[in-house]
Symmetry: C2
Subunit: 427 residues, 2 copies
């Protein structure tokens, strides 16, 4: 099939009006998406987006448009999306603006995920199943191996994938029956009052979550009080992760986390710069037994590779739309499996839960083969705008069964929240 | 003074038509600039840009515009440009699109350098002198210390700057008399014929350069032949650096450089991904006695910090416009001085020579206090478009004396090469 057009949308939700999503680095996010629809000459469509927090979304939208000459009017082979991805990420002019990071990489993510959404629709499969049904050789071909072979070679990846075939049928049956574990970030936004924190923490436990997350990093006394309140609210058996959103330097991170240690934090997330591999390794040593997690802002597979090589993290938090979409995330899942580090994806925002669940379910069936100490972040924002919204029951993501990657925002929501001309923004 | 307007220009030079600038990763660059002029209510102006290689320059231009609400209509204090820089790089919505990398960071560089160009013009000083004349405390205040203190604290930086005052007058007299060392990349572009390589290598030596550079990494047999020809042309006493422009994986880099070792390469530049701190460290161990250099695509001070902490590089090649301009480069110069690693800036492109010379001259007078094993890259392209072009004599950059940062592209060049509507692109 041939791609005939790209439709690009700048969609912004005014979440800052209620402090949903507020943290130590991002006090007033307006959850947004640079959104794309791939149209083809067969009538098949693919939807994808990258997640932003307001101003600057127009840059990601423009970057999607800038890739159009590499896509529109050209063949798209749903059986060779590795080639499609490399066509974008290897383009030398666009690559200069990263390389493989920031605006151009997020735009590539939107397009590559849209191509997978399209491939799923064409095959009549949700993307988790599309990926899990690929022969190991085809999974390996999705990956851009450049810069990876000192940590993982294609033949090692093949071995991993072949080994993961054992027990697949049992895992799939269990996944279909109970879903994939989730944890709840809804209680812990920094802008919420203590009462709201306690109430939402209790509600999360009542809804079946066994892990919640609190934002920290703005004021230590506040954090100690909030962590104590949350621990008292949920009891000793619920995991409470804490998330500093990159607020600290290395030594500061260690001191701050140690001060919260009496309340038994499960992990400290994004303690410092997402680029700081050696910093994370030092923090991990300094805050034991508290674990270290990061990844939502890790730019690409090269930084993740080093996080694993340096024993810098206990949990890898890939994001569906910051690295270059499904193809680069397949590489990251393979790296994590080789190093034995559990992947607990970043989600929330707008649409990240919908899209990333496909990756974790693929990982469980075909790569790591495990859900132990794994959970996908869950935030109950904005799902009503999707045609195939996530369904969470008893602290688990239920398996999506619609063809595609659950990435489609309803046409009426795209129109209402269009920036700057949609009715929500004109008023 | 108050900023009254930003003028943004997309300026592109059709350099791909002659294979100037061709390397193993970038076969057809059109050297370009996303260019900005800051206008103020005093009539003072500041010029800045970031360097791109063609398609996508419009994204950097749009990112500069996206920062306008943080600048236009607001005070700009030439004595507190650290605050100006942090206002841009700490903006949470824009930061989400990096953080501190890629399109938004390059746009911040254009604006921050423009603010220094303006400060130099207002003070009647070239920026190298403006910076070198600052009290150490004010230099330290330029730096965004976030994420640095595990490697360098402000008090250590103050000590470095105070120590560097010794011998300043002698160094300044020598700098004014003979300039700052340069090396020549002009001979070695990958698209050039062997004859042109040999001729230009000989010319560079005749012009007084003691170091030249060859692009490598596309074909090993070609590289061996070209390296042999260059070595025969210049003799044993001229340093020949080689530059792979990120083409290799770690093991491939080591094998390739070892194959070229008989021709005594001075350094291998960008052997692999600029994000790969641990990869560079492994390559450095594997290619000794050949040295390792990188930096033109290093996204920010956090990656440079780790390159130094991990003993990954022998030479640090900062770029004037990829990290966030003068302020972040001051941090990087201080880090390099602490770790004793010589800074040999990336230049060439369009305008990079003009701008970066100010940083090296400041470094020599006020930070490292040395030019040993240091040289600024020099490429003889496109200088004719600048109002204050670099002057290179006997292999040295002569000291610029016009107020500002030598960043101004002539108005007629901006008009002629404007993309897509300038006469060069319409024809």
């Amino acid at each position: 099939m041939k791609v005939t057009a790209l439709d690009v949308h700048d969609v912004r939700f005014p979440t800052s009006r209620r402090l949903d999503g507020s943290d130590a680095m991002n006090p007033d996010p307006d959850y947004s998406a640079a959104y794309v629809v791939l149209h083809t000459d067969t009538g098949a469509e693919g939807h994808g987006f990258c997640f932003t927090i307001g101003r600057g979304t127009e840059l990601c939208a423009a970057a999607i448009e800038a890739y159009a000459p590499l896509i529109v009017g050209r063949e798209l082979d749903p059986a060779d999306l590795g080639e499609f991805a490399r066509r974008l990420t290897h383009d030398s002019h666009m690559r200069w603006l990263g390389p493989e990071k920031g605006v151009v990489h997020m735009a590539a993510a939107a397009l590559i995920n849209a191509a997978f959404d399209l491939a799923g629709r064409v095959a009549g499969k949700p993307v988790w199943r599309l990926l899990a049904d690929l022969p190991p050789e085809q999974v390996v071909d999705l990956v851009d191996w450049r810069y990876l072979t000192d940590a993982l070679r294609p033949d090692e990846a093949l071995d991993l994938l072949r080994t993961a075939r054992d027990g697949r049928a049992e895992r799939e049956a269990a996944l279909l029956a109970t879903g994939y574990p989730a944890y709840a970030t809804t209680p812990g936004w920094l802008g919420y009052t203590d009462d709201k924190l306690v109430r939402l923490s209790r509600e999360a436990v009542a809804e079946g979550f066994t892990q919640i997350k609190l934002k920290v990093g703005s004021d230590l006394d506040d954090d100690i009080r909030r962590m104590r309140l949350a621990r008292e609210a949920v009891g000793p058996d619920i995991r409470i992760a804490i998330d500093a959103n990159q607020r600290w330097d290395v030594e500061q991170a260690i001191a701050w986390v140690r001060a919260l240690e009496p309340y038994d934090p499960w992990w400290i997330e994004e303690p410092t710069s997402p680029d700081d591999v050696l910093g994370h390794a030092a923090i991990r040593t300094g805050v034991r037994p508290v674990r270290v997690a990061t990844g939502e802002h890790v730019a690409n597979r090269v930084i993740f590779k080093q996080m694993l090589q340096a024993d810098a993290i206990d949990f890898l938090q890939l994001d569906a739309c910051r690295v270059s979409g499904v193809t680069e995330n397949v590489a990251i899942l393979l790296l994590a499996a080789k190093y034995g580090v559990p992947v607990c994806p970043h989600a929330g925002g707008v649409g990240l839960c919908e899209v990333v669940q496909h990756l974790s379910m693929f990982d469980h069936l075909a790569v790591s083969g495990s859900t132990e100490d794994r959970a996908i972040e869950y935030v109950d924002h904005l799902h009503e705008h999707f045609t195939d919204p996530v369904r969470v029951r008893d602290g688990h993501y239920l398996v999506p069964d619609a063809p595609g990657m659950s990435a489609e925002i309803k046409a009426e929501s795209r129109a209402e929240y269009a920036y700057p001309d949609g009715p929500v923004w004109r008023s």
